[in-house]
Amino acid sequence: MSSIWYECSCRGTGTQVPDVDASPPDEVRPTLNAHSIYRLYYCTDCHQLRCPVCVQEEIVVYYCPNCLFEVPTASVKAEKNRCARNCFECPICQHTLSVVSVQDPAWGGGRESPSTDRRSSPASPFGTLANVHYLSCGVCRWDSLEVGLKFERPTGLAMQLQKTEEDRPDVKEFEHLREHFEKVFRANAGSSYGRGPGNQAIPLLSNIPGLSNLPYMNRSNSGSLSNRAAHKIEAYESITEPPRNALEDNGDLEDLRMEAVTTLDQRLFQLEDQPRLRSQLKPQRIQLRTKRQKRCRGCEHVLIKPEQKPQLTNFKIKLVATDFLPNITIAPPHLTWPMNGTKPVEVAFRFTNPLDQEIAVALTAPPETVAADTPWDVTLMAPNFTVGPYNVMWEYEEQQQRGLIGYNSGANANFGVGIQEKRRNYTIVLVKIARKALEAAPLALNHIEFPMHVQVTRAASNNKPIVDSFWVTIVLKKPE
């Protein structure tokens, strides 16, 4: 599929690359640094494009993707980034599990009543029956009774599992480690905690307790007193043994059936013990997702600020490239493939202006030194042109005035050299492409790629025009 790739000025490094305008993108084919315009942001202070690599992200809110409830940051750490309500994932297929209740057969019941929300079981004429609640998967038919997991109440399942989770060897080991390092850190407190060379406070260090106690950090400050204190702490002793080597269990191999063994994906999902057997797989609580705030790396200006509530999809601040830069698309008539011979073909590009003021666009092909390597000869028929402003009143028009209906673009007057159409807020310009010589690689028959430099100028309120410039890689491919 043909596409237009925009190059961010950071070229994937995350920092400003000097003299970007003179150097076209490094390789002919779009690199990982090339993005569609929909993925790019625009900083209105620096007047620069920003890509997902050169933005700083900060977390605004944590939420569970299943119940869409917001989780306060304090609970996030306590619950280890997982949902603390009733959201569980099937260990076999990773789909959300539903809570199902069954009347305990010992009381003469046995009627199954699936409940996907947290409703308590209905009272029965036999009196209050012991209700068994368990988790069931709608996709692979797994249920938690296969591993012997039952609940007393249909709500607060995570609470009911909390005791078993705390008894897990890896959790106990982690807690023991944390206590040990807290002792170490308290012993070293006051000497070099949270301070870098020259005794400045380093805020990042203070967020990670224990990090400042690394020997590297202690170098600059007087360490003799703190080192003596550190020596008083005993060496760490772990309280759990390493897990049994699975390879030694050769005796089980003869009894194993394929269905009883877990797949690699299933094992990696349950990281604490990575069980080999299906009967050892436990349902995992669902991991939380985040909404992030993005900042420009150059000037710390906020580019994207989402709403605090997880259910809302709008943004408080949204500086995306599609609102500021012209969107370049390939307009009909489309090329006929394959491209044979050296006869030049004309490709029409449509520049759509999102702003409510007119813009002047200047196109330049890459300099001759670079273009000599590429098999394509690119002639820009309209190197300078303007694109009209966008008028929001067009949203309310009748169908007759929109789109292709009623327009007869062929019979229209001349717009200028190389300009096929210039209407409303778009301009279609022509570019002539010719193959240089037939020794070009056979790949070139169905695939054309070349970079182009675009410079957009618009008037600003203080009469000093704003100029945005960026490189674009054009990829034309035969559609499959």
């Binding site: 599929m1 043909s2 596409s3 929909y38 993925r39 939420y63 993707p65 299943n66 119940c67 869409l68 297929c93 990773q94 789909h95 959300t96 539903s98 009543s113 996907t116 209905p122 709608g138 996709v139 997702r289 994207i304 989402p306 997880p310 259910q311 999809t313 709008n314 943004f315 949204k318 995306v320 599609t322 609102d323 698309t329 390939i330 307009a331 009909p332 489309h334 449509r350 169908q399 929109r402 789109g403 292709l404 209906i405 559609p479």
Partner: protein, 191 residues
């Protein structure tokens, strides 16, 4: 690359005052229970089951769509059903604005938000809840009772998170659905 235009004969589609275009070759059952939001398109061979309604008198809305929706060729839209306390009943299905459902997809979700693009050959299970600004890739199977949060791209069988949509997804889908309605379905006598 800009999309291709499909032309249809005047007699093939019914056009309502609110701008809905319904194909005569589609199978619409229980049309009195179906609400189309305006400027929506129902293409040929599409099956919309508005007749599967919950028992009980009175006027009930079984399937409601928003503006600028597209129910693709051969798609099946039916409301979800459940047996609760021994009673079998259908539940209403609510589709938001700017929702495109691809060809041959089967949709039984309970609720689809705004600005959702569903691909071809998808299966959306019963009582699935799809929030705003979501893209479901071609051939995805969303299991029953699943919740698809905003700005996700789901794919595969069972549907899993594959990608995140950019923040401008809403404008992107808005422009696409409007452009589809105005410029991609043209009556052949208005070329």
């Amino acid at each position: 690359m800009e999309g291709l235009v499909t032309y249809y004969e005047k007699g093939d589609y019914i056009e309502t005052e609110t701008g809905n275009k319904v194909s005569r070759k589609s199978l619409i059952c229980g049309s009195q229970n179906i609400i189309l939001g305006g400027k929506s398109i129902i293409q040929t061979d599409c099956v919309v089951r508005g007749d599967l309604r919950r028992s009980g008198g009175g006027h009930a809305v079984v399937i409601a769509t928003g503006k600028y929706c597209l129910l693709g060729r051969g798609s099946v839209i039916r409301p979800p059903y459940k047996t609760y306390k021994g009673l079998f009943s259908y539940y209403p299905m609510k589709i938001g604005d700017h929702v495109h459902i691809g060809e041959d997809s089967v949709v039984e979700a309970a609720q689809i938000g705004n600005y959702v693009m569903i691909g071809k050959n998808c299966v959306i299970g019963r009582f699935a809840v799809i929030k705003d600004c979501v893209r479901i890739l071609d051939g995805t199977v969303i299991p029953p009772n699943a919740v698809v949060p905003s700005f996700s791209v789901y794919g595969g069988n069972p549907g899993r998170l594959v990608d995140q949509l950019p923040e401008c997804a809403q404008e992107m889908f808005d422009a696409y659905t409007k452009d589809y309605y105005y410029t991609r379905m043209i009556r052949s006598d208005m070329k």
